[in-house]
Chain length 208, copies 2
DNA sequence: TCGCTGACTAAGCGCTTGCTCAGCATGGTG
DNA sequence: CACCATGCTGAGCAAGCGCTTAGTCAGCGA
């Protein structure tokens, strides 16, 4: 199985087309290295070699190793937030929209698991200013999910005692997929998305 | 709030009483450093300083930095497996036992979140032989949860279409707690455990 | 043909890393 | 007392790190 091109996972990646091809290759190499070994265990030589260049070339396109991480993390979070907003704002009642949200959120974390790992598990390595941006995006994602649960409760479609706890559980399930999912997993991302959608609706007390 | 002593979280920590106090202090310092910064971003000087010693003292008690991680990871996984087995083997029907399992699994991952982070998110840094041991323990944990779900289905208490997917979801929810839970979280570990127990039972189609 | 630019490399700098080792203080044993 | 094992430190080594620098070279407008 060839891996999904990063562009498909990051529709919001700024300047994805105008950016020099070499810069894009470095970004892709960084995603794969950070996901596999973690930020601190990845060397600039790893990234440059994987992109077919010398270490110095990295610094023509990016200010630092941390700047690469910051760009990956911000673009990844922005893409996730966009996905969540689109699913939550679509047609149907709260239950239908929640099913779609969980489905797509899960599919994304399974298919884009390399990006997902960097996005969710390398936050501590971000420079402070980049972290602030990313933290705000994460808060927005959680708020979006909470709002949808609240709408479902108001509409009488969900029965939830603690909205925040339920919202945590919903996002938690999806995020953790990027930790354990591998291309050797027996379920396809789409199957998993469908099943997780079902499980979450039950969890929220919806009749299914 | 003073943090829970490691001994409480690791009843199975081998030789916890016979081990020299200095070795124990190093272990505790390593847990905290690895949890906060990750294995690769933690230096042996960090650990030794936090334990009130010089870097060289570390090598009297442990063969290497990686050996410290291996010991933490193995002991942490063994403790988790013991917890899961005890909950699954206790009194009551499958639903009652599952509620107890999720409750305690969640409480552990919230209270022992520092150990939990090392255990769940630093696997890639383990030496190969230590990883093999730990991977076997993780498989046992998953099998234990799967078996309990199957028992519930057989007894007519659960309605689950894919046992493995459901088991993944159950363990996933608990594991991810160690990622996001902080001492500033609004819920106590016990509250969270109770609520997650409820959510999981609904997810498994139990009448609650 | 010319000078210029932008992408790139070879070499390596200053620093930090995991780890080692000779030696020191301490306290139990003959 | 001498003797030694134990637990530890100060100093430091070899390797590897992120990043910089000086310079090469293809492409291009004039």
């Amino acid at each position: 199985m060839t891996s999904t091109p990063i562009a498909d996972l990051w529709p919001t990646l700024p300047g994805a087309d105008t950016r020099p091809e070499a810069a894009y290759r470095l970004l892709q190499a960084a995603v794969e290295s950070f996901a596999e070994r973690g930020f601190h265990a990845t060397t600039t030589r790893d990234i440059a070699t994987a992109a077919g260049m010398s270490p110095a070339a990295l610094y023509i396109h990016y200010q630092s190793k941390a700047a690469l991480l910051a760009e990956i993390s911000q673009a990844g979070h922005a893409a996730t937030l966009a996905l969540v907003r689109a699913a939550a704002a679509g047609d149907g009642g709260p239950a239908e929209r929640m099913r779609r949200l969980v489905d797509q959120f899960t599919v994304w974390h399974a298919r884009a698991r390399t990006v997902g790992r960097v996005v969710n598990y390398e936050l501590h390595a971000l420079p402070e200013d980049a972290y602030a941006v990313v933290a705000a995006l994460r808060l927005d994602i959680e708020r979006e999910v909470s709002a949808l649960i609240e709408a479902g409760v108001t509409a009488g479609e969900f029965q939830v005692s603690e909205v925040r706890t339920a919202a945590r559980a919903v996002t938690s399930l999806g995020i953790d997929v990027s930790r354990w999912y591998t291309e050797r997993s027996s379920e396809s991302p789409e199957e998993l998305g469908r099943r997780y959608g079902e499980l979450v609706l039950r969890m929220l007390g919806a009749r299914v």
